[in-house]
Symmetry: C2
Subunit: 128 residues, 2 copies
């Protein structure tokens, strides 16, 4: 990580859609896959500088589970088709790599394969 990424004014937020059904008609263990994913992320050692935020619907309902990364001067990225059981560690790894950048652009060769193939959209940082 760079020193830039450690500055308080450039925190990272990991948004997780807790309503994602991932094609299911019923929530299985009483939690929708999106909620299962959020709960799993909360059990991982996420650094304090990365805030994990539950969101009730990121409106990418046909391709959940859906997450987003944003923060500070970085581009915002939305990623689809995350698996609530298999992908939490990959998401944490990607979030750490994202947080380590000043602009949100993880170098392509360092980007998790899932991020390469499942980017739904990205948005430029807000101009100050």
């Amino acid at each position: 990580m760079t020193n830039t990424a450690e500055l308080p004014e450039n925190p990272t937020e990991l948004l997780i859609c807790t309503k994602c059904r991932r094609g299911r008609d019923d929530p299985g263990d009483d939690r929708w896959p999106g909620q299962v994913l959020f709960d799993a992320m909360r059990r991982l050692p996420v650094p304090h500088a990365i805030r994990v935020t539950p969101v009730e619907c990121l409106q990418n309902c046909d391709h959940g589970c859906t997450i987003a990364l944003r923060g500070g001067a970085r581009w915002t990225y939305v990623f689809a088709n995350c698996d609530e059981l298999n992908d939490p560690e990959m998401i944490l790894d990607g979030a750490l790599r994202y947080h380590a950048t000043a602009d949100g652009l993880i170098p392509w060769r360092e980007r998790p394969e899932h991020f390469k193939r499942n980017c739904v959209a990205r948005l430029p940082p807000l101009e100050n």
Copy 2:
């Protein structure tokens, strides 16, 4: 429009991906469809409070043309499958309705049909 939406601290930004190819292999009139869309939006009477911003790739490449609306305390919305020739007025209408809200949530019955069916993702406003 509400008074809230007119406050300078709650401006709206309309982002337009100028690289969208919308399935084309060549740009036609030397401009990609995304650029044609951006140029068309610039010719419309967009109010000063709505900034039209060109972006080189919103990374929704398979479903362009792609636009996004964000600003102030509003949710951010990304919309896909816009037609550069037929949709500029619809986009302006939607942007005006979005700008008139404090939170970005256009009432469903007032929402352009295209917005209803082509939302790629939405993101909550940043917490202050």
